[in-house]
Subunit: 213 residues, 2 copies
Amino acid sequence: MLKKFIFLFSVLFFVVCLDCWEKRKKAFLVRLSRDRCIGYFDEEMYGLVSIINSHPLMYTTSCCSGRISMLEVKNPWTKLNARVIGKWHKKTEKEEVLEKISLYEGKKEPNLWIIVQPPIIHVSCKNLETASKLVVYARNSGFKESGIFFANSKRVMVEIRSSEKTSIPLVLNGKKMLNEQNFNELIEYLNNLLENLKLKIERLEKNFSNLQN
Amino acid sequence: MLKKFIFLFSVLFFVVCLDCWEKRKKAFLVRLSRDRCIGYFDEEMYGLVSIINSHPLMYTTSCCSGRISMLEVKNPWTKLNARVIGKWHKKTEKEEVLEKISLYEGKKEPNLWIIVQPPIIHVSCKNLETASKLVVYARNSGFKESGIFFANSKRVMVEIRSSEKTSIPLVLNGKKMLNEQNFNELIEYLNNLLENLKLKIERLEKNFSNLQN
């Protein structure tokens, strides 16, 4: 009798869990469609996100294809009191950056930073095996900082991320850090970096198309 | 007969696996003692590493308490053809950095970077539950980029890492990027950052001492 009860309870538990994850996947796919409609989705990620979502044991929960941004903040890794004062998904312009720097010169606080944020994707996987495989694929495709950041019996969350994050101080304690004479060089470097990150997304997309179900 | 065989095989498999992980832990602890004797171990990590290793289901495989370094390399996230030309575990000095910059001015290749590398620890866990708990503890202690980067039936590998990594270009394509007039400000910022990272290790050590076996 007890054995029967345990068996039935296990089956019921399994079905409920299965249902939960599937339901969450469906809800996220609906949200993704809605976000696309209202222009709230990063279109450069659509190919990659579609491939991941076509896998029956995975779905994406958030993503960003990478960008250059200017942040008004003491330290760029803390979001507390940070203010984005410029954001570029393609190229940034020297004049625009210089103009913003001039507004911060002489101001003791906050500091001013220019940052390149590499692509990032969060994926919910149904089990550890799928998540581990995804991490290995991502790392082998050059997304070296990928890993599982949360795991329980209901889901395993993977962060796919590459290591090109670059944070450069423009103004620290009101003092200009950069040599404006050679500013062209820096802007060119940052724009090239962002362009290469977009190519890296395409390579990841190609590699992921081999992910077996 | 078949059932008996499967049962015996499972028990044997389990014992062998157990033995393997325990053996690896022992070997790593021996290596750690040897590394300490020959001064090959980062002493600032000893307290934290000892706490992790005292847990029966974890052991550390490598660690670094963080440092400031100067790298001769095109991009600081690729190790290919990178050459470390300066490394400081405590404070760096303005004059030393300026002297090295002058050697690279006018050289088309390679670029020159100054980098703050935050603390990093790799931990082998015996199972997913232990690894997940470790990741949650590390993230809640401010090591926000921690995660599981490898998992199979034999071990689950965790990387504990914080997000303060800072890479600043000093010379790009032979051109000096920084305003030397305000160089004191930058050096002070980097030295303070490194000091704060060491305090962060101490906080992690305190939080980890609550990790239940």
